[in-house]
Symmetry: C2
Subunit: 398 residues, 2 copies
């Protein structure tokens, strides 16, 4: 090994560690543990038969191009399908406003790459998505954290925090629908207020929408993207939750000028996204399977969410609260302030149940007494049994 390897690393890499969540994924390989930890879809709902059929069609019809390099911007046909899909959600986008990505984590990376230099500020929710925080940190971002409540980011606090900040943030990162990790949704009033603040202060918003299509109840609230008339919202979407994650496909919507910069960034990052997976998903959407698939997923996940909520209500002791998500994949549990969810995890694993401790989701180091529960991956019976096991562990710690 080079002797002074540590000094050779970049400033970021010297401090970098593997992600808590990703390492946690490995726990799920032990079949005796009920894991509420990773945000994984239920593989039972993957449309394996349709994909097998479509793969054959695509390879037969266009194998030469599907297995070849493709343009960095992404498959035009898939973009067309995406435009039609978003139209139903009130978004008017053109081909030039879309970049196909290797799922939305790449969206987070590319947006970071074109905006963040070491020491730049980014506004994040407290708590926020770990993969977002990780991407921003990897480019040297510093955070302005804004607390959440049941109606999402407390936008009234944002104005104050921006006043106090030495420099304006490069962008405001927000997951408005069924937030990861907290499960809460930004109210329509706050969305309007947020847009107004960003207009007044000339700020950019990064809207992360992985779960937007997975609403199980309540009324759909317009996306920030659909409310934007001045090109200041950059929105990230993914097929990981509405189809499956194994193809690594997502997309970014933004003003054409920003997409241009993102395309240049993508070229140096991975040249292009898989032509093959894009062709398959294009054909899948052309054959009109996606809407049915989303309905199917919603039905399965709604039931799981309701089962988890019932089990929590039935078992979990007083003094512990949780969010009542109207969609997405997660519930968020807050224990009394003296309970440390990270320390408690070891005991939980002994009891054969796992969750994601909440602390790492907080950019300000708070939230040690919180934890995230995923309800999409485990089965109904596992959810019931897992909440019982979790209850035992929590009770011992209270």
């Amino acid at each position: 090994m080079p002797k002074d390897l540590e000094k050779k690393y970049s400033l970021h890499a010297r401090k970098s560690k593997r992600s808590v969540i990703r390492e946690m994924l490995k726990l799920t390989e032990r079949s005796d543990i009920i894991s509420f930890s990773p945000g994984m879809p239920d593989p039972e709902v993957f449309p394996k038969e349709e994909i097998t059929k479509i793969t054959e069609i695509v390879l037969h019809r266009e194998g030469g191009t599907a297995l070849q390099y493709s343009v960095s911007e992404g498959d035009k046909r898939l973009k067309y399908q995406i435009i039609q899909h978003m139209k139903k959600d009130g978004v008017k986008a053109k081909e030039e406003n879309i970049l196909i990505t290797s799922a939305s984590q790449q969206g987070l990376d590319l947006v970071s790459k074109i905006f963040i230099d070491r020491g730049d500020r980014v506004v994040v929710e407290l708590p926020s998505y770990l993969g977002g925080l990780g991407a921003f940190i990897s480019y040297g971002a510093e955070f302005i954290g804004v607390e959440l409540d049941e109606d999402g980011m407390q936008v009234d606090l944002l104005d104050e925090k921006l006043d106090k900040a030495k420099e304006p943030p490069k962008f405001i990162y927000v997951i408005p629908d069924f937030q990861n990790p907290a499960g809460v949704t930004l109210s329509v009033e706050r969305r309007k207020e947020l847009m107004k603040i960003c207009e007044q202060r000339d700020l950019t918003i990064l809207e992360d929408s992985p779960y937007r299509d997975l609403r199980y109840e309540g009324k759909t609230i317009p996306s920030l993207l659909s409310m934007d008339s001045s090109g200041r919202v950059i929105a990230l979407y993914t097929f990981s939750k509405i189809l499956f994650p194994g193809f690594r496909l997502g997309w970014i919507v933004a003003a054409e000028e920003i997409i241009d910069k993102l395309v240049a960034a993508k070229q140096s990052t991975d040249l292009c996204t898989s032509a093959f997976t894009q062709a398959v998903v294009n054909e899948y959407m052309t054959q009109d399977y996606l809407d049915h698939q989303i309905e199917r997923i919603k039905k399965v996940y709604k039931e799981k969410k309701d089962v988890m909520l019932s089990a929590l209500t039935e078992f979990i002791p007083k003094g512990v609260t949780w969010t009542k998500a109207e969609g997405g994949l997660f519930l968020w549990v807050t224990m009394p302030s003296y309970v440390d969810a990270s320390l408690m995890l070891k005991e939980a694993i002994k009891e054969k149940v796992a969750y994601t401790p909440g602390g790492p989701f907080f950019a300000d180091g708070s939230g040690q007494n919180t934890l995230r529960l995923n309800f999409s991956y485990p089965s109904i019976s596992e959810i019931k049994e897992g909440v019982k096991r979790l209850t035992n562990v929590i009770k011992k710690n209270m």
Copy 2:
């Protein structure tokens, strides 16, 4: 649009442009142009039937995991296959030494991410791979360029240049086999000398080996990776040239400690590589198809290379020289110093032939009179006709 968008971009993004080569790819969409420009494989050799069959097997047998998230390090089974494949090339690697990437461009990005801070130095060949230069620049690297000749990087010049450098480079980037763009191969004496210099100066080498398995003639020269006993070589490989690019699959080999840092970087970049494409290529290798596929590709490309060399010998006027690659995808043409290949490209496109101008491959701004010719993508008859058209254009400029 935010009013001061330009000021909001990162320092790199303010200057970033789409890659010349990638934009050039779009030219090939016009069917009347014979393009020697992009480094694309011949789609005629893609094993469509085998992949169709294997895709069905994989989806049937393991659809639930193949369409799911996977671990960031990559599929263990695929790593095992890769280890066996590299063993035949004298490389002893363990699972812990390998990270599966979204092809080798991601390898370039991740290595840059963990080593380069703004202003850091990287040694590159003159000329070098555009995608490598682009990745390093995107993290703010500055270059120490070392000239090539028919035997690859002029390692005797390296020592001098390192003496003059204000700070040691973070790594030395070299494409030893059938270099992109120059087509030349680093001689065994120079490989030994390079390893010695790096031992003495405690330097890291980034060995990019996309074409290593595509040797059409001459004796195989040991890879730097296989010569390394001290963990200072990081090697990049890809399935793009030995199988096909459409799956976006490659791998990095490095010391376990470095792989650890790269895994952390990958997590914030795209979480994981497609489980599906990894499962398919694993099955493809398990069924022992890859070696046959490589033999098949070599046969086709050798013939194309020989046809291009013959056509160049037959048509191109005196005063123009070219490299005689023993493998890979490219020949490299040097015209008299007064001819500008970038300016000449417009005329070439009028004559319905395209190539990649050499200038952008030179980190020091030289090489305006050079150009790169790809022989793997065009058909035999296109190669003959294309070289004739190119000859006309060159003659007009001499």
